[in-house]
Amino acid sequence: MGSYIAKRLLLSVPILLMISFLTFLLINLSPMDPAEVVLRAQEVPEITEELIAKTREELGLNQPFLKQYADWVMACLQLDFGESYVTGQSVWSLISPAFLNTLKLTLVSSIIIIVMSVILGVVCALNEGNMLDRSVRGVSFFLTAMPSYWLASIMIWYFSVRLDLLPTSGMDSYRSYILPVTVISVSYVGIYFRNVRSSMLGQLHEDYVVYGRACGLPERKITKHILRNSLQVAVSIFCMAIPIILGSTVVIENVFAWPGLGRLSVKSILSRDFPVIQAYVLILAVAFVLFNTLSDMINAAFNPKLRKEI
């Protein structure tokens, strides 16, 4: 197992390098000159050629491409993502509190998603084909087809405005979590409980289940074995889900005015604040790769066959 972990970690290094390179390249693909973007963002009244040339020099844009990249990677490793074009604050001081807020939202939602998906998935698999299973699946189909911001707006309108029970926006107390977490969970439980259900169903007709029954094992014990095996799949799915949720709270954060990464990123996109966008993409991509690695490791811990595949 130790050598597997070492190999898997080594394998993610080139991927991380490629990700950082592509993220860096992305900014250079922009149709606009970054120097011009900075000047526009700072609302300089008259943008002259001279001024652009001076800003280019200041930003180090005249250096060779690879040198710029190397400098940037080294700085990023020290958590120095540069300064915002708009406010001049360091990007890290903008991103780190926002990241924490998003992380809180994501973790609370993920826990609810995992618990709900496993419960619903197992219950539906054990009741395959009857009314309960069919109605749960029907409702989930409808819920996953709903745009989350639509559901969010409806809930704000009903619970916050008409009933005046919960805050409409912001992040003041634990009550602020209720609506955004509910909306995020609803969209994802509908997807993930189906995965749990189908992996459970796949196990129901395996030979070991038939054998267990033939030996007269109580049904409760058989269910326990099935659960153990089918939850392996669930664990790896959830490891993949967490970074996906982390990246797609964008819309919800904007609806609920949650002071997180999603709001920051949309604000930066609209004001073309490249360093912030760059840092946002890099941080989430790295999180994505790390969670993928983690999910592979958990899978390998459960299933020794997978360890040989590298």
Partner: protein, 293 residues
């Protein structure tokens, strides 16, 4: 043809197919079906309820909601469909090359796919929009750029399974050109897998594009788009919540239709039925790769 027959037996899937066809036709011939000019502002009709002239009422600028819904099909559904076809096309080209020729071609192409897939898709869409600027065409570019790798992966797996079949080997031995084998003998059988994943990912793409428009990163006003209509409705949500209804339901109906169609297709095109007696195949189609927003 047999697939079509199977599909017609599934009532829900046929209904979905019918709804999708209706939406596409409405969108293509929007000027014919829309009762009014979608951008015509009439301040006298602000927030008017439904009437015979304006079935779904009027929005905050007195524009006809029904006409805006119909014109909104173009960016919300038709352009998404085009982006989907483009990414499936690129993905299929790469997938066929990798799956059929194997060896070095396969290794190189799949490494590229791995790198593309190691980016979180939704974040990258945002990033591309962030760099190129807000706008529908930039979102579509981002979609194609991010989605092809996933299609390539799935199609490659599917192609690999068929490329090893005896009839393909026989065709090779008979001296038929690779191009002809791929077009005549592999494309038709892998088509089912492609159809299933394409209709499945259409759902998440519709939701994503409407979400981006909702955030103001999509199509520019005054053009109608379902997500943007919801965004406009949100600003007056507390006084006129009914404006949220029509565009939201339109999205729900369209996405559900694609969802049910994907499900129906999976059953109708099930290869287990096509060559019965064989072990069911495990394809990557079943793996979750859904990023709803």
């Amino acid at each position: 043809m047999r697939a079509l027959k199977n599909l017609s037996r599934d009532k829900l899937a046929s209904l979905s197919l019918f709804i999708i066809a209706a939406i596409v036709i409405l969108g293509l011939f929007a000027p014919v079906f829309a009762p009014h000019d979608p951008n015509h502002v009439d301040m006298k009709l602000r927030y008017a309820g439904s009437s015979w002239a304006y079935w779904f009422g009027n929005d905050h600028l007195g524009r006809c909601i029904l006409s805006r819904l119909i014109y909104g099909i173009r960016p919300s559904i038709l352009w998404v469909l085009a982006a989907l076809l483009a990414s499936v096309g690129v993905g299929a080209a790469v997938g066929f090359l990798a799956g059929y020729f194997r060896g070095k071609t396969d290794a190189i192409l799949m490494r590229i796919c791995d790198i593309m897939l190691s980016f979180p898709g939704y974040v990258m869409t945002l990033a591309v929009v962030g760099i190129l600027g807000a706008g529908l065409e930039n979102i579509l570019i981002a979609f194609v750029a991010m989605k092809w790798a996933w299609f390539a992966r799935v199609i490659r797996t599917s192609v690999q399974q068929y490329a090893e079949m005896d009839y393909v080997k026989f065709s090779k031995a008979a001296g038929i050109s690779n191009r002809r084998i791929i077009l005549k003998h592999i494309v038709p059988v892998t088509f089912s897998d492609i159809a299933v994943i394409a209709s499945g990912s259409m759902c998440s793409m519709i939701l994503q594009i409407s979400g981006l428009s909702f955030l103001g990163l999509g199509i520019k006003a005054p053009h109608a788009e379902w997500g943007m209509m919801l965004n406009e409705a949100r600003e007056v949500m507390f006084s006129h919540p009914e404006l949220m209804l029509a565009p939201g339901l339109a999205i729900v109906i369209a996405v559900s239709a694609f969802n049910f169609l994907a499900d129906g297709l999976q059953v109708a095109l099930d290869p287990k039925r096509m060559n019965s007696g064989k072990q069911p195949r495990v394809t990557e189609v079943e793996k979750p790769n859904v990023e709803y927003a």
